[in-house]
């Protein structure tokens, strides 16, 4: 038999008092988890769309030149970890993201270089064919098709495209689909060379061991200290995963700060509300505590009873709120956000870390307020209130 003063006895037999508070906590956890996940999803979106930077790095000439200067190329060739350096023509197609249209690079390469790069990212042709030399055709991976809601044979770029650098003077068709979760688009080098005359040629390089790419990138042009690397920032720029993320995180720092303020405010308000609810429930339970105190139950034991009731309720409600958030965010990620170019991790530990202060704040708030009232509890006044 469970002891009559066990917190579980009270919690299971007083649903009208327990459920409203539990419901508030569940909603609060979902709110915080959703806000934090969505804020973090921008970072994840960038990492997803530009994931090809895990496999190769672009070296782009600065505006004064049409191709990477020879001395800069020589520096690349001297790096022992580099496996291959490929010169490619590029153009851009639009992709949909939560912040609007963004240009996505299409690499113009020779068939042999294309096969090498696709092998590197383990992408295979599942539909259609590879682009023919000199023709306005591209092969793209499945996520790009889904993002643009296109199918084989549709035009992916053309003269009527809106947006800054994206588009093509001739309509470019999708002739092949690659099976890969890495966003990649490729065309023929001859097409890019004859069509995008003013677009600078860039170099892209791979390393013999893929995991060495970050080390080489950092050596060539360190993040935040461009001038300290082997490459000259006056002549070239590099597009690496590390500097992409650094730029995104830097530009989103204000938004993260706003999110922290919103989270803190929500947690404070919820803790305050829950503290008030605790006080109301405590007032309703004064006869109970008065009688228990008169019967010889010490204030410390009564306090522990309330603390455990609060801890159990908040922990269970937090767990339910977290599970509910995972399910709802998974649904929203797949059915709402993905189509809008926003990638959301429904199980982002960072987001759930932000919900942890909720049960802690509520428990502390309830403990302090109830302890003050318990200290002043006069059992006789309760018993004599007839």
């Amino acid at each position: 038999m469970r002891h009559p003063l066990s917190p579980f006895t009270y919690l299971t037999r007083n649903p009208s008092k327990v459920l409203p508070m539990g419901f508030v906590i569940v909603l609060c956890v979902f709110l915080i988890a959703a806000v934090a996940s969505i804020a973090n999803s921008i970072d994840l979106t960038v990492r997803t769309i530009y994931r090809y930077t895990e496999f190769f790095t672009y070296v782009i000439p600065q505006r004064s030149t049409q191709s990477v200067p020879m001395d800069q190329r020589a520096i690349l060739e001297m790096q022992p970890e580099i496996d291959r350096i490929i010169e490619g023509g590029v153009f851009f197609v639009n992709i949909k993201t939560v912040v609007g249209r963004l240009p996505f690079v299409v690499i113009g390469s020779t068939p042999e270089e294309r096969d090498y790069l696709l092998k590197r990212i383990r992408a295979t042709l599942v539909e259609g064919r590879m682009p023919e030399e000199g023709k306005p055709e591209v092969v793209v991976s499945q996520p790009i098709l889904e993002n643009r809601n296109l199918k084989l044979g549709d035009v992916i770029a053309g003269p009527l495209d809106d947006g800054g650098i994206a588009g093509s003077p001739v309509p470019v068709k999708v002739v092949g689909v690659l099976k890969s979760d890495i966003w990649v688009a490729m065309s023929s080098r001859t097409f890019t060379d004859k069509t995008f005359l003013l677009t600078p040629k860039c170099l892209l390089f791979t390393t013999k061991v893929p995991s060495d790419l970050d080390v080489v990138n950092e050596r060539l042009m360190p993040v935040g200290r461009k001038g300290d690397g082997f490459l000259s920032p006056e002549k070239v720029n590099v597009l690496t995963r590390a500097n992409l993320l650094a730029e995104v995180r830097d530009s989103l720092s204000s938004m993260y700060m706003i999110m922290e303020v919103v989270s803190a405010t929500v947690i404070f308000v919820i803790a305050l509300m829950s503290g008030m609810l605790s006080n109301i429930y405590f007032t309703q339970r004064i006869p109970e505590f008065g009688v228990l105190a008169a019967l010889g139950i010490s204030r410390a034991r009564l306090m522990m009873k309330i603390v455990w009731e609060t801890v159990i309720l908040t922990v269970i409600a937090w767990a339910i709120g977290s599970v509910l958030s995972v399910f709802l965010l998974t649904y929203l990620a797949a059915n709402v956000f993905k189509q809008r170019g926003l990638f959301l991790d429904a199980m982002d530990p960072w987001a759930y870390q932000h919900t942890l202060p909720i049960p802690v704040a509520i428990t502390i708030f309830a403990m302090v307020t109830v302890w003050v009232r318990l200290k002043r509890l006069d059992a006789v006044s309760v018993i004599e209130r007839r």
């Binding site: 006895t9 037999r13 009688v291 008169a294 010889g296 010490s298 204030r299 059992a379 018993i383 007839r386």
Partner: protein, 224 residues
């Protein structure tokens, strides 16, 4: 033995002082049913709460077996009440989310719980509440609830049971049932009952009369 010496209790309200108890001294000999009688406002309930350590007197001292309980800490006093005293109030004050059996066991230490369940069932049977252990207070009559409260007072085998107007909210029949249970307990324990109903104290061994906060006299009962 419980005794009190020169107990005074003053209530101060703004500039007015009310003397609720004026130097009451009493010895409560063991194994007896002690009655404290008096009209409303005579200070009998206040005296009871001072005797059991729930209220502090303005002056005077209460001692249990020679040890003063007047200046005990809250925690020590709570421990004393839990281990040595039992209480029956005018209202049963049962917790409405607990069954009758659970209400009886509410003050029991968790490590003594399983050993006390059998005893609680016996007490229910003894008090005429057979088969009502799993009923919630809302399903019991006023008399049944008060008998559950008596069982709650007796479960810990207390040396002294304090009862404050335990029959006030009951009809005569139920009142006698409650008093009979307390009188039985007084055979080998001390029971102190506060009431204004002389009928209910017919079985008392000693009756103390309080009027205006002063002890008037002690009258042995002629019934037992």
């Amino acid at each position: 033995m419980l005794s009190c010496n020169d107990i005074c209790l003053d209530y101060v309200e703004a500039t007015r002082v009310t003397h609720a108890l004026k130097g009451v001294s009493l010895d409560f000999s063991p194994n007896k049913l002690h009655g404290i009688m008096g009209p409303s406002g005579s200070g009998k309930s206040s005296l009871l709460y001072i005797l059991c350590g729930l209220k502090s007197p303005t002056a005077g001292n209460v001692a249990l077996d020679g040890t003063s309980i007047t200046n005990m800490s809250d925690a020590a006093c709570a421990r004393l009440r839990s281990q040595k005293f039992g209480f029956v109030f005018q209202q049963p004050f049962l917790l409405n989310y607990l069954t009758a059996l659970e209400n009886i066991l509410v003050g029991i230490n968790p490590d003594e719980l399983s050993a006390s369940v059998q005893k609680a069932e016996s007490l229910l049977s003894y008090l005429g509440l057979d088969g009502m252990g799993d009923k919630y207070p809302s399903m019991l009559s006023g008399g049944e609830r008060q008998r559950v409260a008596v069982a709650r007072a007796l479960i810990g085998n207390p040396d002294i049971v304090f009862a404050d107007e335990p029959t006030a909210a009951l009809d005569k029949d139920n009142g006698y049932k409650v008093m009979s249970a307390l009188a039985d307990w007084a055979v080998d324990h001390t029971v102190i009952v506060v009431t204004h109903d002389a009928d209910m104290l017919k079985g008392a061994d000693v009756i103390h009369h309080l009027i205006g906060g002063c002890l008037v006299d002690d009258q042995p009962s002629n019934v037992r």
